[in-house]
Amino acid sequence: MTKMVARSKSSGATVAVTGIRGRTSSWAAHHRRVAVESLSSLLATWLNSLMTWLVIGIALALPIILYLMLVNVGEISGDWDGKPRISLYLVHEASETDARDLARRLLDRPDIESTSFISAHNALAEFRAMSGFGDVLSTLNRNPLPAVIEIKPSMTDVGQLRLQVTSLAGLDLVDTVVFDLEWIERLFAILQFGERLVAAIGFVLALGVLLIIGNTIRLAIENRRSEIEIVKLVGGTDSFVRRPFLYLGFWYGLGGALVAWILVQGSLLFLSAPVETLAQSYRDDFTLSGPGILDSLIILGAGAGLGILGALVAVSRHLKEIEPE
């Protein structure tokens, strides 16, 4: 075949464009034209296109919103940098100097990052302020609260933490060690489950988007069957025939991703006030974080990529069937 092409070129019969640069620029110009034409064909039937964009947008928005929720929950729990706290309740007999001394000595241990000492007096004052039982407390003749050393361990491994708890419990001045290990394990498990769930939902919905776009492109191919036949009759290559449909898929995907992005921003705006009020009762500086610029670009890129992929699937399945008769 190369023989034939070469010959027909030299005979001047079907010379296309001379020079690689000329060919590349006309190729790029053709791409530009096809891209613009396919977009304007979508905008010409904007109501139908909008429906498709909305469906794709909703399907994409759902896993994105779930993912953002997960990120935000991770951020709240990241308050302790993923590291738990251990509270050492000291025996009542421990003097404040001994207790402070213990807190300082604990700081030297490599498995402890920081300690903070709350004296029995301070603990009582805090309790009085927070609980509203101030009157009841003043009737007691002695402070019922022990001094507490709060420890921030330097590791997160649950097995090591258990060992650390045991060794701390053996210290002379320590009465009880409170360490909510199960809560942490549960939270980690929930976060992990959430990640898997988001991944699974995301996968299923991405598959759905692929099918939606594939089906839409299949209909477009069916609508333009006679055009495809004619293009093939006058020498259109497969990639020439394929191109407008790939661009169609690209615009469907990109438009859908844009809708998804708007939906995500909208729901964040809608949720941010109550969520932040709730979160700030735990932490002062919490703000609901949405997709950043990079995340937004990833969303748009993923949408466009899904669009092209869906179109490719449809095109490879249906274009070969259409041959001029």
């Binding site: 075949m1 019969a13 079907t14 296309a16 009759l233 290559t237 497969d238 008769e325």
Partner: protein, 220 residues
């Protein structure tokens, strides 16, 4: 330019469209392909542009054995053959200009070159003033001439026409035939399938006559 070597074509279902057809067409020749409807005229043209493959035998185009042309290479064969279809095969949602420009767009011509060549082809078929119109607004004869302009716009060495005067009155038919004659004069190999025998006898050209798939040749 075109050579058939013992070509047979049997369609699924057993219909024998062509039976051991052999002939050769030199570059720059103009021939008529005649015969009753269903005699195999269309099949012959379809074999040349690879819309069909022969059941037996070989078809050569410009020395290339078309049996050896893979599916991916088919477009390049079609670009070297201009075809005028009986039912015009125009894109009805595109202007006359865009219809004629299609083969050039496919071949990757530059925008300016496309405009120049399309206008030349349209002026050749006498439709210069219709380039912005849509095919539906044209008469049958004008649509046929759009089809001819599209077939010749990228200057193919071979021009095939399947019943180009099928639905036209004698005067229009003559105009169309004159056009093909002009293309032949500048060296294009022309093959016209028709059952308008009066026209064929007036043109005094070589005639390939098909009868139930068999070829009977007659000199002018």
């Amino acid at each position: 330019m075109i050579r058939f070597d013992e070509v047979s074509k049997r369609y699924p279902g057993g219909k024998e469209a062509l039976i051991r057809v052999s002939f050769e067409l030199d570059a720059g020749e103009m021939v008529f392909l005649t015969g009753h409807s269903g005699a195999g005229k269309s099949t012959m043209m379809k074999l040349i542009i690879l819309m069909e493959r022969p059941s037996q035998g070989q078809v050569f185009l410009e020395g290339t054995n078309l049996n050896r042309v893979s599916r991916r290479q088919v477009p390049w064969v079609r670009r070297s053959v201009g075809v005028v279809f009986q039912n015009h095969q125009l894109l009805f949602d595109r202007t006359v200009f865009d219809n004629v420009a299609l083969p050039l767009a496919i071949a990757g011509f530059k925008h300016r070159e496309i405009g120049r060549r399309v206008r030349a082809a349209l002026s050749k078929v006498g439709l210069s003033d219709k380039e912005k119109q849509f095919p539906v607004t044209l008469s049958g004869g004008e649509q046929q001439r759009v089809g001819i302009a599209r077939a010749v716009v990228n200057k193919p060495p071979v021009l095939l026409a399947d019943e180009p005067t099928g639905n036209l009155d004698p005067e229009l038919s003559k105009e169309i035939m004159d056009l093909f004659h002009q293309f032949n004069q500048v060296g294009v190999t022309v093959m016209i399938a028709t059952h308008d025998l009066g026209l064929v006898s007036r043109m005094k050209r070589r005639e390939l006559k098909l009868d139930h798939g068999r070829l009977e040749e007659s000199a002018p």
